[in-house]
Amino acid sequence: MPFTAPIETYSGRIVEVKIGVEPNVVTLGGENTFPLYGFEGEVPNKPVIAMEVYDNNPVDWVDAVKAPFADVLGDPAAWAVKCVKEYGAEMICLQLASTDPNGDNKSGDEAAATVKKVLDAVAVPLMVYGTDNAEKDSEVLPKVAAAAEGRNIALGPATEDNYKTVAAAAMGFNHNVVALTPCDVNLAKQLNILLTQLGLPHERVIIDPSTGALGYGLDYTYTIIERLKLAALQQGDEMTKMPVVANLGVEVWKTKEAKTGDTAEWGDQVTRAVSWEIMTAVSLATAGANLLIMRHPQAVAGVKKALGAFFK
């Protein structure tokens, strides 16, 4: 039976964004199809996994995800080293939870000092993320940008309310900007327009479309990422062709399914929670995410292996 394989080629291509400095650089994007569709296009860079490190001691975490980090919780530099040395992290995402004005409310200077310690401890590329409090992030992120000068980090979140400050800090010290918008393709495009109008080059922008964990809004994130990618690939939309980050670890470990202990109906907690994180990550990578921010080392290993099957 004659069958012509329906291969599709797209005119657009995702922009390449490089984070870190040689020889420790990760490249996001660069594909001219969906990241897992290597059978019909070029996917020069596989999705990157960044392991989360927190700048505070996350006492509220469940034991299932505290255990792998038990000896380093509260020490971000040691935590980052453990992620790299023991769990093979190719990138770190430092979450500045301690700067939350509703929590410890640590200052920008303190955050910058932590960033410096982490940068001194590990050579892998770094993303630094604030607490999505526009005002506080405006104080914190410029100090972080200065402290990380010369390391070409990813800095965010830049939002509608503070993008000028964050972009200026990033441009001033040659970093990349993570642009966060609330679950909407057009808002994501709009923020990218504003950022590029400030003079930030396309290859300095990463889209954070807001992440819903599996069962908690994943369907929205999945479809938004697919639509961003289709717009970039099919229509060559300049404002959706930046790589996409899925900040999923924090969302997965908030869910009831990750936090509930072993039960007969739901099975073993660690397996369930790790599977929840694997499934969230794999599905967002299938939709097109280029950078996955993850928490549990077993989940990181599982996703690495699964995605590895697509890049032989």
Binding site: G215, G267, R272
Partner: protein, 447 residues
């Protein structure tokens, strides 16, 4: 190619008799085009036109029903490649494979697990849908005996997996009333298996070593008179199976390639449990129909079925919770009372943050047709008069000894008017973002 409403209209009598239940032929044509009506409803069109229209309006991927009665399900009928285009229709489902060479304890345990595992989530029951019994022994007696054991422990429909019609025959006789899927006809055995499937009126899976061969077998089995076909693409493994599934779906939709106009069955062999989970997940998202696993661990099944639920929801129609009082963390008569809307995502986020706060709370979920707080307010569905009515009927007053209601920060502007509507209640404005709830709740007091 699907016909447009106008194409269909040209073939209708244009008498506007209304006997089809729709006032005009044009309106009826539009309904036909969007598959909301059947051509049989028109008493006046000729049989030729009927045949032409039902052919043209048949979905590009045929619906196949597996099982009979309570546990039957449909796969197929898909019309799009991306869920935002027009919703996926029949959720991909999964099952577990039991080999007839396994020991009795394993056979019984797997069959019982397939029957027993069920998760209820957003008013849907999520569970395994089939049990595959695979002939490894090569003996028809052994195969039939294991089928008996499986059937004794589960009511789910079966996938009878063998290549030899002689091995299948006895088992088919035993369980054909429950409409099993026969797996699978290939380039060698297709005549015998097609005859078996046709005689018993059962769906038949077809497989091939390549996509070309798969198309060939599908075509031959169709020619032999089998209508309900399920395609088993050649490749195992996450990457290869994704490639096959994408090409099969595209061929069906874009090329109208008839041999691939059927749902699929895929396997997740090779690799460890995490790999199998990831493979199953990718098949769930990208065009799988019936996904077969080797193990049923609830800790891994749960994320898989929730993924199916997420991917197969209608992106235009929000998932909704039912209206009512949701006690979180065993609240008492002095616990806070909060209200939000019944958009499932809003509910999940708000309830998740309340749980994280460890402050036991009464959460009132109000039916606003699944809109988020701000949208519901803007649409006039989450407004003081209606909220007061809902609270009045909700019996929350009997559960607490205070009269203090916390409303979402996004509707702070209604607090005054709501207080007037709800005589005796004090309205407090909570945070705008759910993420600020733990902080807020920890310092909440009824006064």
């Amino acid at each position: 190619m699907a016909l447009t409403g106008l194409d269909i209209f040209k073939k209708l009598p244009k008498t506007n008799c209304g006997e089809c239940g729709v006032p005009t032929c044009m309106a009826f044509a539009m309904k036909l085009a969007s598959r909301q009506a059947e051509i049989d409803a028109c008493p006046y069109v000729s049989d030729d036109v009927k045949a032409e229209l039902s052919e043209a309006s048949a979905p590009p991927v045929r619906k196949v029903t597996i099982g009979a009665g309570d546990y039957s399900f449909n796969i197929g009928e898909e019309t799009v490649l991306f869920r935002h285009e027009k919703t996926f229709v029949n959720p991909a489902v999964f099952g577990v494979v039991i080999e007839d060479s396994a020991d009795e304890a394993t056979i019984v345990a797997k069959a019982k697990a397939a029957q027993g595992i069920e998760f209820e989530r957003i008013e849907q029951k999520l569970r395994p849908h089939v049990v595959g019994v695979k002939a490894v022994s090569g003996s028809a007696e052994k195969f039939a005996e294991v089928v008996d054991k499986v059937v004794a422990n589960t009511r789910l429909p079966l996938v009878l997996m063998a290549e030899d019609a002689a091995v299948l025959k006895g088992a088919v006789e035993k369980v054909k009333a429950n409409r099993p899927l026969i797996y699978a006809a290939d380039a060698n055995n297709f005549s015998a298996l097609a005859a078996l499937a046709k005689e018993a009126g059962l769906p038949l899976a077809v497989k091939g070593a390549t996509l070309e061969e798969l198309a060939d077998v599908s075509d031959k089995v169709t020619a032999a008179g089998v209508k309900d076909i399920v395609l088993a693409p050649p490749a195992d493994g996450a990457a290869e199976s994704l490639k096959d599934l994408v090409q099969i779906r595209r061929a069906a939709l874009k090329q109208k390639f008839k041999p691939f106009g059927f749902p699929t069955i895929t396997f997740t062999d090779g690799g460890d449990a995490d790999m199998a989970l990831a493979t199953a997940g990718i098949q769930m998202m990208k065009y799988g129909g019936l996904i077969m696993l080797n193990e049923l661990d609830p800790a891994r099944i749960m994320p898989l079925v929730v993924l199916g639920q997420n991917i197969y929801t209608d992106p235009q129609k929000p998932m909704q919770m039912s209206q009512g009082i949701y006690p979180i963390g065993d609240p008492k008569e002095d616990s806070p009372v909060m209200i939000t809307t019944n958009f499932s995502l809003t509910y999940f986020i708000v309830s998740g943050e309340i749980e994280a706060s460890r402050v036991p709370t009464w959460l009132l979920v109000m039916d606003v047709e699944g809109l988020s707080v701000l949208t519901a307010w803007a649409a006039g569905k989450f407004v003081p008069e209606k909220i007061a009515q809902f609270i009045g009927k909700s019996e929350i007053a009997g559960k607490v000894k205070h009269q203090n209601l916390v409303i979402p920060g996004y509707v702070a502007q209604i607090s005054g008017e709501l207080e007037e509507e709800m005589q005796g209640w004090k309205i407090t404005v909570g945070p705008r973002e759910a993420g600020d709830l733990p902080h807020y709740l920890k310092s909440w007091s009824p006064n």
